[in-house]
Amino acid sequence: MNQVPALVRWHAENGAGPHAAIPAIGDAASYIDSDACQKELRIAIDMRALQDENYAGKGIGQHTMFVVSVLRGIAHARLLGVVDPMLPPPGTDAAALFDARFDMLTHANPARGGDIYLNPSPLTHDTSGLINARRAGMRTAAVVHDFIPFRQPEFCANDAALAAYRYLVQSLAKYDLLIANSAYTASEIRTYLPEFAGAVVTLHCRSRFAAAGADAAPGPDPAAPYIFVAAADDPRKNVEVALRAAGQLHAIGLRLVVGGGFGEASRRRLMSAYNQPYYMAEPAFLPRVSDAELRAVYERARFVLVGSEDEGFSLPVAEAIALGCPVIASDIPAHAEQIADPRLLFAPHDVKALLRAAEHVIARAAAPASLAASYRRFDHEGEAVQLRDAMADLGAEARRAGPPHRPLVMVGPSFNKPTGIAVYSRLVMQECRAQKRQINYVDADALEPEAFYDWLLGQAESDIVYVMGNNNIHHSQCFIAMQNIPGACIMHDSRLFEFLLNREGPHWLAALWNRRFARRRIDVDTVVHWQRERRLLPYSFLDPLIARSRAIIVHSKILAAHIAQAYGFRPVFYLPFALQMTRQEIDLVMQMRRGRRRAEGDTIHIVMLGETEPTKGCCELVFALKMLRLIGYDAMLSFVGKSDEPFRSELENNAHRLGIEEHVVLMSYMSREAYLEYMGSADVIVQLRYALFGQVSGPLCDAVACGVPVVASEDLAAGTGLENYCTVIPNEFSPMHIADAVRALLDGEPVLSPRPRLHDMKDYVNGLFDALASGQAS
């Protein structure tokens, strides 16, 4: 594992960041393998809960910090933070808890040399960390916070989201140790995972606040008494019950102060539940505040109200208790675990019960010591010891042995789908079967979400090869599968820009770029501009694939070099694109060509093979045709492939504007026979691509195999090793470059160079399996 850690590279690209406090690691591998480290308990901790802004600042993030701080107390333990480069870096406070940090790169994750993998939030992110850890033989542990989406499926956006959540829950069974944040959650684990054979320990969440002492605490504000409604901008937090009770609470002189940083739209929605006259003081909605400010809000409140419909454990209740603030809460199991006196609990939607609880707490607040006894306090120290012991025991266990055999699965589009990738994959599998390779093929995108996740759950021990394209329609679930179960990837497209744009949106892409290139920040307008002008795209946005791949197989040398250089990714393999024409087809085309003689005055037939797209220089090709005709070449141009709107109209309009519409042929559908016929009749074939990180053209290989004179753009030809068999024009080509090249082929002396021996599918499959083996070895 000799690799400069991605951490160091990340620092270099992004300048000094909040993680500057981490000890500099010159060589991650040597650190892990050092004698000192070897003797210690190496715990690799998944840092995504501390990176993701959706969780880092909330309960999950807080509890994660607590868990990590507990583990810091294990003697001879090294805490290795495993970061996901797809998320923002963790904050300074979080980063300071770790001895080292590493990128979550599957193939060379030094943390794989660790003993235990701990996931502080297994139900919020994919299972890639778990799968990698198991494959590395590590023992695994996870913190479980709640199972709310199971109990409240309406909180899931759709069926697919619920199916995804179910998958994550079911994946918990693969951990060796689960750490519940409450006794309630621990009991839920047994309910939802009856098959779970590992240990469950409980580590209750701990308040970030500790009581300051009787003299320091300011006490309730007598001038403007209020009830602090501890909530968040989440319907589950059930602020409505407090708002409906506001009138009666006003009657006893208490207004509401609602925490949680509600946005304007949410506030308007909530206020529809507030039915008080205008002259009554409206609830005050607090913005997001600092810890110190929040503490003051707690301490100055008459009491705290938590009306949540469901929780695994309630940190607001714990914080109120810790600060000695009276608190009432909804009578959900998590609150019942924290509040012993049932009279301080109320049914979540029962205003009267809430009022009764309010009355009760106000009365009991007169005797704080007595009230304090109504709340349960947990033995955090004792639980911490338990957890440390459990982790130490886990670390002492032998490394996990993998299965004797891992089934090999290829995930790609069904063979009947109308895409080039589907056709190619069919041929690959055909050859695999001919070679009696043990590999199954699955179209993950053909499965309904529930079936997909059921299938995914069963693949934890499989070696998967993902066939990825840039198209959401055919590769969306394939992508999800890869995010959860890392594997090898055959990358047919050189970029994921369009895929990610459709999946995540322009803001996400801008955020990804800004994390990667902090000194060259962009905004959404730039992303939109790149979408319109694809040739200006300066980055391939392959990060999600790179972060989850053991090995990447590409069909362009240019792309292989780009991935290695731009992402520092080692196990990328160039595998020459296999010729898709059969021997008979090649012979047929060559026979057609031998039989034709172009006489003086015959129309010159220029052909472009493949679907028309702007990035293939189709407009420039139309312009080149015009220029050729102007200087006396009687030429016509055929686009031999699908030509759909709106680009088709653009081509037609261009041809019309230049007065050459009669000499440009566009098609809607093209049969294999027609394809071969056009290849046989072409005087020149032109295959072009804008230089977007190394692209491939199957028809280019076909044309070269059949000995047809070909014009190709520089990277397209060089990427497939065919530059000596084409007339090459610059990547930044103009119509004049195309016209010059066509003229050179038509007017020049034919060069009788031997046709190259192109890879056939047999070579391809052999190469594929060699690459897969190499990828696994690394």
């Binding site: 000194r519 040739r535 702007p614 407009c619 200087i631 470059h737």
Partner: protein, 674 residues
């Protein structure tokens, strides 16, 4: 109507100034255009612009003079500076405004077919990406294509598109139309043998269709070199853009300045597009103070610095020609350049270091070598712009050379234009007008004097008759044509005037007046949108400035210009109020109890026949009576008269011939109380 009679007016070389007239800039290509124009025989060339795909507009040759003056003035004219100092925001200099007005006010509009058939030669010295222009050239019948010559400065757009980050060939079909226009030409001028060969290949034409001409190295006469004592200087010329190796050049200058404290390192050039990182680096180096960066120098200052330099640097990865290299050479300044600059081949030798590969060490080494060697006694590039102009003018390619007729044909065209303005005639009778025009010309000694003949008897009768007929025909035809396109194209004063009136709620009245007089609706709002809104007072002042300029008299005709001056000069009260910005004309009307003019008010002018009338009414009468041709000045005149009429202005008696003083002009452009 074609024929031998009209051909008398076309014994000229017609020069396409469409691009320059549309957008006067100071690019290198336009510098070539101007330098050539300066040295072409002015009586043998005539400017034209492309009017639309089927017509050309013959322009007043005065535009040549303004073009040359515009190019010499790198700063706006003095009066414009004064106006800007007082808060006005118009940007055009006097020359630019007049170029645009002259381009918008052609002397005649001709069908392209007739133009191509009759013109002896047509030369275009600028590239363009305008499909209308391309289609016009492409429409030339094959029989006449031999007369069309284009100057092709480079093929960079086609050969090196990567040099132009803004260029996206997917959307650049206009350049294909340019290529088509080239294919329809008879011959080409180029500045190097290499380009000649490449162009010949690309157009599939014999190389004999290309004429290599030599650009001139002579710059405008400069002040004596600014050599300060023992200090030496290294001067770099060129826009700061990626292809000029900006980082390398600036780093080289920094090193030279460090190693040679007696050498001033000077960078002359605007910021072009460079990425943020490069710009930050360059700004950091420039901030060190070791390199002087000049961005907005006059041509004279640039020339002086070049002349005083001990070494010049001009390097580029992609270049059409590289004028600065030969300019340094002509000044006798040793130069460091590179092989990718075509002009390098013309100066390679003892005093010019031509790098095959541009790198920092090589740049510094060669500069130091040339500094040590010292300057030559004289320039080492001998070609001048007069030579270039002669090469262009004397090459006929495949066209048939035409001898000088001995008549100042340009003067004939100008006379045509005056005829339209000066001859009263019934609108509808073109034949009658033609006859009147012919009689007038025959009797007008001024005409014969201006065309170069003191006595018409020295011209053969048949030829004289043909000439008279030609002039009459053109005048008659064009008075029928509305040869001023629309307000969107007639920028400058007219659009500004429209703005004044729009602000004063006179827009509707203007539109009605236009319909009444010219029978054509006017999209005034579109015109207003073409020009930025300014205060009424500012714009009125600008208008006054313009019509008081010397050129206006020559352009408008002395009588009209004088009339306008009188109208404006004696409407001082109104103008002062407008300039103060406190009242607009609409409010003024309210104060004076005057209602806004209606169509009827305008029509009333035609009924005025009494001798003793106020000048505004006489002006209105004059406007109604004179033949209308829809030019910009017509409208300006009409509306100014309408404004005065509506305001009941009384004008003092004629002070003909005495124009306002400079002080008076300036007082109009200074706001009251400034």
């Amino acid at each position: 109507m074609t024929g031998p009679s009209q051909s008398a007016l076309f014994s000229l070389t017609f020069l396409d100034v469409s691009q320059f007239a549309a957008e006067p800039l100071r690019t290198g290509v336009q510098r070539v255009l101007i330098k050539v124009i300066e040295h072409l025989p002015r009586d043998r060339i005539m400017p034209f612009r492309v009017f639309d795909e089927t017509r050309v507009a013959i322009l007043d040759p005065a535009i040549f003079e303004f073009a040359i003056r515009y190019f010499r003035q790198s700063q706006p004219a003095q009066r414009t500076l004064v106006a800007e100092a007082h808060g006005r925001s118009h940007h055009a200099s006097q020359e630019e405004l007049l170029i645009r007005m002259l381009a918008a006010q052609p002397m005649a509009i001709l069908p392209a077919e007739r133009f191509f058939a009759l013109a002896e030669r047509i030369i275009n010295l600028e590239a363009f990406s305008n499909p209308v222009r391309s289609r016009l050239y492409t429409s030339c019948p094959p029989a006449h294509r031999g007369k069309i010559f284009h100057f092709v400065h480079d093929l960079l757009l086609f050969e090196s598109p990567e040099v132009f980050p803004q260029l996206n060939w997917r959307y650049a079909s206009d350049y294909v139309l340019l290529f088509e226009a080239y294919c329809a030409a008879g011959g080409f001028f180029v500045a190097s043998e290499q380009l000649a060969a490449r162009l010949a290949y690309r157009l599939n034409r014999p190389v004999t269709d290309m004429r290599v001409v030599h650009f001139g190295g002579d710059l405008a006469a400069a002040a004596p070199p600014l050599r300060s004592g023992t200090r030496r200087s290294v001067v770099v010329l060129g826009t700061i853009e990626p292809r000029k190796y900006p980082r390398m050049v600036v780093d080289a200058l920094f090193r030279i300045a460090a190693y040679h404290p007696d050498v001033d390192c000077i960078l002359i050039g605007k910021w072009g597009w460079v990425d943020a990182e490069t710009r930050a680096h360059l700004e950091g180096v420039l901030a060190s103070g070791r390199i002087k960066h000049h961005r907005d120098l006059t041509d004279a200052d640039v020339t002086a610095m070049m002349q005083a330099a001990d070494v010049g640097i001009y390097v580029s990865s992609n270049e059409g020609f590289g004028l600065p290299v030969i300019e340094f050479a002509a000044l006798g300044v040793p130069v460091v350049t590179n092989a990718a600059v075509p002009s390098a081949a013309l100066v390679r030798g003892e005093y010019a270091a031509v790098l095959d590969k541009v790198d920092l060490a090589a740049l510094v080494t060669q500069v130091e070598r040339l500094l040590a060697a010292g300057r030559p006694e004289q320039g080492y590039y001998q070609w001048r712009w007069v030579d270039c102009a002669r090469e262009i003018f004397t090459w006929w390619g495949n066209a048939q050379p035409v001898r000088d007729t001995g008549i100042d044909v340009a003067a004939c065209w100008q006379y045509c234009m005056r005829l339209i303005r000066e001859l009263p005639a019934d609108d509808s009778d073109i034949d009658a007008f033609r006859q009147v025009a012919a009689l007038h010309i025959g009797a007008d000694a001024r005409f014969w004097r201006e065309i170069g003949r003191d006595a018409k008897s020295q011209i053969e009768p048949a030829r004289m008759h043909a000439l008279v007929q030609a002039v009459s025909d053109i005048a008659a035809e064009n008075r029928e044509l509305i040869h001023w396109t629309d307000l969107l194209q007639a920028r400058g004063a007219l659009a500004e005037l429209v703005q004044v009136l729009s602000l004063s709620n006179y827009l509707e009245a203007l539109g009605r007046a236009y319909v009444a007089f010219l029978g054509r609706p006017l999209d005034v709002w579109a015109a207003c949108q073409a020009v930025r809104m300014q205060s009424a007072g500012d714009l009125f002042g600008r208008l006054i400035e313009l019509i008081n300029s010397d050129e206006a008299a020559r352009y408008l005709g002395a009588r009209i210009a004088a009339a306008l001056r009188h109208v404006v000069g004696d409407a001082r009260d109104v103008i002062d109020i407008c300039l103060s910005g406190h009242l607009d004309l609409c409010r003024l009307n309210e104060c004076l109890g005057i209602k806004l003019p209606a169509v009827e008010d305008v029509f009333l002018a035609e009924d005025l026949v009494r001798a003793e009338v106020d000048w505004a009414e006489r002006l209105l009468y004059f406007s109604a009576a004179r033949p209308l041709s829809g030019d910009a000045m017509d409208l300006l005149l009409e509306v100014a008269a309408g404004v005065c009429r509506a305001n009941g202005l009384h004008i003092a008696p004629d002070r003909s011939g005495i124009g306002p003083s400079a002080d008076l002009i300036l007082s109009y452009v200074e706001p009251v109380g400034a």
